[in-house]
Amino acid sequence: MGKIKILIVLILFLALATTPFWVNMGSIGKKDLIPVVEKPKGKQCVEEKMYMRKNHMNLLHRWRDDVVRGEGPVKYKSHLSGKVFEKSLSNTCLEKCHTSFDKFCNRCHQTANVQSYCTDCHLTPKQRQKKEISYGLE
């Protein structure tokens, strides 16, 4: 008799403990969680889309170390188009294509809860045009 009671309570506990996994089953699809980002204004990125999705932070960190610490050349030759770009977040990435840091970068970063504090220092295109005095969240 005691064993059955224990078993019942155990099953109830397991159900309660795994609630996060099954309570939303079927109601929210993975599609709904991918954020919609603003289309960039430029024609072609520095590299191709899937590569950038996986490696954009690695690319930016390498650019940063090359330019600031002098570990590499200051220009970057794209493997996609062969064009030469300046290794700069503000001048190349933000100014030319992703003009709103909030509507492009922050959409995914906030959803994934991966803090990006680039705009704590680097100026966004709107801030550079002195249109707004803010923290880059436009």
Binding site: R69, G70, S90, Y117, C121, L123, K130, I133
Partner: protein
């Protein structure tokens, strides 16, 4: 298992020594293989000569300071009664009385340096920089061309470099510069700001040198009192100035080998 206690202890001791020996050898191997933190030697050593004879006459001139601070988005923090707040101020170039720059003179009789005149002081970009030596993250590092550079990404704000610098050239961001209204009204769009918690100082306008221009202070000085160039190049204008004039450096006895020379 048949092992008695004595044998077990012997075995355990031997195993420990063997294990530790292996570990220490790998630690030492790592230490030997770590390369020193130097860049490729380019043969360039950038330095500056400040001709105080031209500068001392103009008592209220702050052109170099204004050019530097406005172009580098340096915030100005004031106390409620409008005076610069010396405890939290950020300065890349500043005015300092002569007796503070050259403290080892007998100002009672020695008139080489005018003790109360305002001298122009900045980071000396030493050849043997104490700040680089003590930085725990190498956020401040010596470039092959002689500039002692700051990497604000890596700075953790420990201020050890501020303690190490014997010249007081470094300033800490106690507040977020973006909360400074005067700065935000006058932002230079081509240079980033810094955040709260990093140390900053003169960088010899490395971003201008990259495109072949000179530092802001050198260009802003109306009297042309600042000469900037390559100290290792015998034919450069700065070497010419150094050959023709007697110069002083700040606190040479410390062995930091500063690259900024003063003509008094």
């Amino acid at each position: 298992m048949g092992l008695n206690r004595k044998e077990f202890l012997k075995f355990a001791g031997a195993a420990t020594l063997f294990g530790l020996g292996g570990a220490t050898s790998s630690i030492f191997a790592e230490l030997e293989e770590t390369p020193p933190i130097t860049g490729k030697k380019t043969g360039k050593r950038l330095g500056m000569v400040v001709d105080m004879r031209k500068c001392i006459e103009k008592k209220n001139c702050t052109k170099c300071i204004e050019a530097c601070h406005s172009n580098h988005n340096v915030p100005e923090w004031r106390t409620p009664d409008g005076k610069p707040d010396r405890k939290v101020e950020i300065k890349w170039i500043w005015k300092e009385p002569g007796k503070h720059l050259f403290p080892d003179r007998n100002y009672k009789y020695d008139s080489t340096v005018k003790p109360d005149a305002d001298f122009m002081a900045l980071c000396n970009h030493c050849d043997n920089p104490p700040c680089v030596r003590v930085c725990p993250t190498q956020a401040t590092f010596k470039r092959p061309d002689g500039i002692v550079m700051m990497d604000f990404h890596r700075c953790i704000g420990c201020r050890f470099c501020m303690a190490g610098c014997p010249y007081g050239s470094r300033s800490f961001n106690f507040f977020d510069p973006r909360t400074n209204k005067k700065l935000m009204g006058n932002l230079n769009p081509n240079f980033p700001t810094r955040t709260r918690g990093v140390v900053e100082k003169c960088n010899f306008c490395a971003e201008r040198l990259r495109v072949g221009k000179g530092p802001h202070c050198v260009e802003a000085c109306e009297e042309k009192a600042l000469t900037f160039g390559d100290l290792n190049d015998e034919n450069s204008p700065i070497r010419q100035v150094l050959r023709e004039n007697r110069t002083l450096r700040r606190k040479p006895e410390l062995g930091t080998e500063p690259s900024v020379f003063y003509i008094v």
